[in-house]
């Protein structure tokens, strides 16, 4: 397989297009989530109940990874999974329906927004910090044993890089040369705890050295740099050269979860200016690649896709309480 190392103009527009689609989705969930939680804020109320971790600002990570993955590749994500799911090709209608707790959802309303499983896309999440990493090793192991060049991408936050599971997973993946790409989204915060109060090293990329694998840090939430770093890591993995670790310095544009007043956050003033979408928009415009009409068309297409998914979710049936005990076991069926 020839490896592409330079982005074409179309590739760059596709990266932006994906970022716009993700943002449009997150904005729509934000709107729906808050639409019916008043008066006051009742987390369990409304059409979309429960904790809601949105990934606005982290689109470059997802877009930069998704561009390198094919249908058979796997991804494990975190409690903040929507951007990654969209970029990995998870069915956006079924994902919206799951977030709305509907029978048509990815998990028939049994999982929820932190527990999205799409076997066709080999996509899964975990709400337990860092514990989504070990299963990615097993997917990579299965791909390796089957003699394929398929890979697994395991994503975690910078807070997760201080968990034991992270270190066990890196050691084992390196030891067995598993085709895994570990990506850390460093958004500076683990809920209210700044990175400086959680992490002993300035860059998690240096931790790769402890396991004898390459480590790279991408600064400034730069989508093209994410694309390049992931491209090299995917090439290595497909070639049987083993895992890589990439940390991206990204941005949590909104609160940890919805309803988070972020009183702890001293950097809020500068946040809007670091929004990666206007930044990349300007970059492509200045380079003469993007015109206003194209950007408008991107937004319109994204809205159409997202509103269709939201409408599908809202019009889908709710699960029947009589079925609350279903799906604990496979009930005898054998494949």
């Amino acid at each position: 397989m020839t490896v592409q190392s330079v982005l074409s103009e179309k590739d760059k527009l596709d990266l932006l297009r994906m970022m716009v689609l993700i943002r449009t989705f997150e904005e729509a969930i934000l709107r729906e989530y808050h639409a019916d939680k008043s008066p006051g804020f009742d987390i369990g109320a409304g059409l979309v109940p429960g904790e809601m971790h949105l990934a606005a600002g982290q689109e470059p990570v997802a877009a930069g990874i998704g561009a390198h993955l094919s249908r058979g590749d796997a991804m494990t994500a975190t409690h903040r999974p929507h951007h990654l799911a969209i970029a990995h090709g998870v069915d956006i209608r079924k994902m919206a329906a799951e977030i709305f707790g509907r029978e048509t959802g990815l998990g028939r309303g049994r999982g929820g927004h932190m527990h999205l499983f799409d076997p066709e896309a080999h996509f899964s999440c975990s709400g337990i910090v860092a514990e989504g990493l070990p299963p990615a090793l097993g997917q990579a192991f299965a791909f390796q044993r089957a003699g394929t060049d398929r890979v697994a991408v395991a994503v975690a936050g910078e807070g997760a890089a201080n968990q034991g599971a992270f270190h066990e997973a890196l050691n084992l993946a390196a030891l067995w040369k598993l085709p895994v790409i570990f990506v850390i989204e460093d958004n500076d915060w683990g809920i209210s705890v700044p990175r400086s109060a959680s992490t002993s090293v300035p860059s998690n990329a240096v931790r790769a050295a402890a396991y004898g694998i390459p480590g790279t840090r991408v600064e400034d939430n730069a989508v093209e740099d994410v694309w390049a770093a992931v491209g090299e890591a995917v090439r290595r993995a497909r070639a049987g050269e083993g895992p890589s670790l990439i940390e991206v310095h990204t941005l949590r544009l909104w609160g940890h979860f919805e309803g988070d007043a972020q009183g702890y956050r001293g950097d809020l003033e500068g946040v809007p200016g670091r929004d990666p979408i206007p930044t990349y928009h300007k970059h492509l415009s200045d380079a003469g690649i993007l015109d206003t009409a194209t950007f408008t068309e991107m937004g319109a297409a994204a809205s159409a896709t997202v509103e269709d998914a939201i409408a599908f979710a809202k019009s889908s049936p709710l699960p029947d309480p009589a079925d609350a005990l279903k799906y604990v076991f496979t009930e005898g069926a054998r494949s």
């Binding site: 990815l106 998990g107 049994r110 527990h115 514990e131 097993g138 044993r145 599971a165 997973a169 799906y327």
Partner: protein
């Protein structure tokens, strides 16, 4: 809640005593090897499962037969390799993963109960995790509080995993075969004292007749290990051996003890419990796990819910709620020994 079905539960018969006798550990190995021959997706992984053959001989010889690609020693990273098993199972492989001692679940329980056990449910049935987590349990050889626990009640309490606990070679092979073929995650808990190991005190019942061909013992079905009419002992694992020994001894005095070997903890065969207690009216639960908040209480609740007013006696012989002590006499003071079981039976029948 299960209701008593109108027809009596069909329980598998006691195996024909064949000429070939195996230890429980060899029966387990044979089941795994047969499934590895039949299904190339089956592989074995864990600490010291290769050249050593499993600390309690649950994988002896598999490395020689199948090689290091399918019998894989892991680093001491239970979270990583159990998680790896989960991901491999999600992609259609059938891992048999050994957690060396059940006591070690503390370092990896998240993968077990939040991932292995829940993915099928959270995915609305769209993702299956056909994995076996096999682990050693139990005490009686002075291994202290961190290497002697049974803990099946802890696993069985958490929905989404089946928990099987064989007591003898025949069931050990049949349950392992069923566990590997199952599309659900199965926790396979073998007591070290039933394995028939050369280096640990053993009951003769840990070696027994085992058919050569592959067969399944159904998950979720108890077995009447001994029929009797005066009192029902509901038990499992090594305690089955002790209970049968006590029953044989007391038969000479005219006390007729029925022994139910649960074989599976989750899902619990409530019908078998109810059927036996309906007959005898007296229930003793013998359980080497901790007494409170666990299996023994669940068995008694099952009988009480189904037979209100129908119980002439209820008691339990379990580990009182203390960590397992090291010193031999202290340990045997808390284990469900034959002496404690015998005393419970005598009390139940009013002697």
């Amino acid at each position: 809640m299960n209701t008593l079905s109108s027809t009596q539960t069909q329980l598998p018969l006691e195996p024909e005593a064949g000429r070939r006798r195996l230890s429980t550990s060899k029966a387990i190995v044979e089941a795994i090897a047969q499934q590895m021959h039949t299904d190339e997706k089956v592989f074995v992984m864990g600490e010291d499962v290769g050249a050593y053959g499993g600390i309690f001989s649950s994988t002896t010889g598999l490395l020689d037969e199948f090689g290091p690609e399918r019998v894989i020693d892991t680093p001491i990273s239970e979270t990583a390799f159990i998680g790896l098993g989960i991901g491999a199972a999600v992609e259609g492989m059938r891992p048999v993963v050994e957690l060396m001692f059940a006591d070690f679940f503390g370092v990896c329980m998240d993968q077990i109960y939040n991932h292995m056990a829940k993915i099928h449910f959270e995915s609305g049935g769209n993702v299956r995790v056909p994995m076996v987590l096999m682990t050693a349990t139990g005490g009686g050889y002075s291994d202290g509080a961190q290497h002697s626990q049974c803990l099946w009640g802890t696993f069985a309490h958490l929905p989404g995993m089946k928990v099987v606990v064989p007591s003898n070679p025949y069931d050990a092979k049949g349950l392992m075969t069923a566990a590997i073929r199952s599309d659900d995650p199965v926790v396979y808990m073998f007591h070290k004292g039933i394995m028939g190991l050369g280096w640990m005190k053993k009951n003769p019942r840990s070696i027994g007749a085992v058919p050569t061909d592959a067969y399944e013992v159904p998950i979720g079905k108890a077995r009447v290990a001994r029929e009797g009419s005066d009192v029902s002992i509901v038990t499992l694992s090594l305690s089955v051996h002790h209970s049968l020994d006590v029953a044989e001894k007391l038969a000479g005095e005219g006390i007729d003890v029925e022994v139910i070997d649960l074989r599976t903890v989750a899902p619990l065969d409530r019908e078998a419990i109810i059927a036996s207690v309906s007959k005898t009216g007296r229930l003793i639960v013998v359980d080497e796990d901790y007494q409170s908040f666990g299996l023994s209480g669940e068995v008694i609740a099952t009988a009480a819910e189904a037979l209100p007013g129908g119980l002439k006696h209820v008691s339990r012989v379990a580990v009182p709620d203390v960590p397992i002590p090291y010193a031999r006499d202290l340990e045997y003071a808390v284990l469900p020994t034959p002496a404690r079981i015998e005393a419970a039976v005598r009390q139940a029948v009013g002697q």
